[in-house]
Assembly symmetry: C2
Homo-oligomer: 324 residues x 2
């Protein structure tokens, strides 16, 4: 890591929208070194008052659905509407080099060279807080740096979707035409989580198929119970190549924003996200401290096996732990 | 509580299918007294080898869907197929007197007087392990007492469905005709959890409506991604009054059983249920011990408020705790 800055330098740099300082700050919060984490924690608390003023959009879809081209086209559309766009890509495999989702900025060829866009892979992996706590902190930093549209991208096959939903305001699912087949790749439950579905590649010979897929999905969504937000998910079609449908998607998100601001769900959701995150981190910290003893660790491993083999009940296992 | 028995008396009574001893044992495990809990824990570990040999069926649906009459008719059908049926009813409100789901045995008029059936409300509430750990232990006791069909009933509006799904093998959702409206009462996500849907009250003038609802639900399920079990949920219709459709429901559950035994999912799911339950109980126990200090409790309350108000980040809040 390059030389550390002081808190004041980080905060001044970020709030004056200096991208180079923003990048350094993200690197700092992603560091696993204890002394970096102390500084990172201090930084987050300091920029907190400058954060929060963006629309946080989670986007997912199976490989091949065209996430990169969609985000590239949608991001440019947002910028044309006078927004500043940050794209954070989560790789659930936690290996930066492997996933095509990461690193390769050229996959968003227009957005990656635009001065009002910021693209960054975001660290994940088995650290405290799971996949997303560092992504959440990265969102806060980006917001403090003036980005008012944050896109968090993930591949629609892992566990990370629920976690992304827990740090974003609007959850967008990209789908291909030919509803049915491509669902094989989507994890159960993700469709019910979506605030909006966009059928991609609605161009050329594919247009009619996309339109009928849209009708089918809209019909299927009708069978889903209403969400807590009171929002009824909408289905749109788009073509990233022909740059069509982007306005529809933005209109949908804006409509959702107004709807949830009006009924209070928007802030309620963010508040709950924070509370749940606190509880989760607290639980993990407790467990970490508890498991710092090798003796306890061995005990738990052994009990896990006994529970798995059905030799002892889960409740009996907890009772049998020597807590002293 | 009536006089306690010895472990041997409980175990001998239960394994010789003595219903009176079974009832006493359930009362014991539901007790909150520490000395009862010690005995209960010992009892569960002792009967564990006699448990496990039942089909555990979770049944839910909104009030008015006809759960009681369905379970009454379906239970009698099971008994006619030489099964022994235990019905455990969970009241998520944790107040035994309030819910119509509990207490009133006469709502299952045929089953409640049948010697091969056992109906019992099951304790819930804020105790260690949440709504269902005592229900899970009750299942184990019933299995040891020779019940090979366990029905766990819950109202389809609360959080308890996910928990019931975590202690049963097959999750059945009862639905009324006129798909759409009645979904209002069903919590988001429950439909995706269902291994089977049964449209109730398919009788009289309602038959055609039920048939078309069945087709609509089957079509909607087509849009759901396949579950981990590789099982495709089925939709049936039934009439508890005309006693029709019960065979279809049983055939579906048997088919699911064979399917998941064959691909290993059945035992895999039970194993995972135990492991997850152990982890959950462990987390709760840790938290309980951690929160036994009033000072820590006050600290957490204060931090919760700060997180909620956005004054401190969830991560900062955890960091700020004085762990010593």
């Amino acid at each position: 890591m390059s030389k550390l800055l002081s808190i004041t330098e980080y905060v001044n740099g970020i709030t004056s929208e200096n991208i180079s300082v923003l990048s350094k700050a993200i690197t700092l919060i992603e560091s696993r070194k204890v002394e970096h984490q102390e500084l990172a924690s201090q930084l987050i608390e300091t920029i907190l008052p400058f954060s929060g003023k963006s629309m946080r959009i989670g986007i997912t879809g199976v490989p091949g659905v065209g996430k990169s081209t969609f985000i590239d086209a949608f991001g440019i559309h947002l910028i044309n509407e006078h927004k500043k766009v940050a794209v954070l890509a989560i790789d659930p495999s936690s290996s930066i080099s492997k996933g095509s989702i990461l690193g390769d900025k050229t996959r968003m060829e227009n957005l990656s060279v635009h001065p009002k866009a910021f693209i960054r892979p975001t660290a994940s992996g088995g650290s405290l807080g799971g996949v997303t706590y560092k992504t959440k902190e990265t969102i806060l930093l980006c917001e403090a740096a003036g980005f008012d549209s944050i896109i968090v991208e993930t591949v629609g096959v892992g566990q990370s979707e629920t976690e992304v939903n827990s740090i974003t305001d609007f959850f967008l699912l990209l789908m291909l035409t030919g509803a049915g087949d491509e669902l094989q790749g989507i994890k159960r439950g993700i469709m019910e989580m979506a605030d909006g579905i966009v059928i991609t590649k609605a161009d050329g010979n594919n247009i009619n198929k996309a339109k009928s897929a849209r009708a089918e999905f809209a019909n299927a969504l009708h069978f889903f119970p209403p969400s807590e937000s009171g929002w009824i998910p909408e289905v749109k079609t788009c073509s990233a190549i022909e740059k069509t449908g982007m306005e529809d998607v933005l209109t949908m998100i804006d409509k959702y924003h107004r709807h949830t601001l009006k009924n209070g769900f928007f802030h309620e959701k963010r508040k709950n996200q924070n509370l749940i995150s606190f509880q989760k981190l607290l639980d993990e910290q407790l467990k970490k401290q508890f498991l710092s003893s090798q003796q306890i660790k061995n005990q738990i491993t052994e009990l896990n096996q006994k529970v798995e083999q059905g030799i002892i009940s889960p409740y009996g296992a907890v009772k049998s732990i020597n807590w002293s």
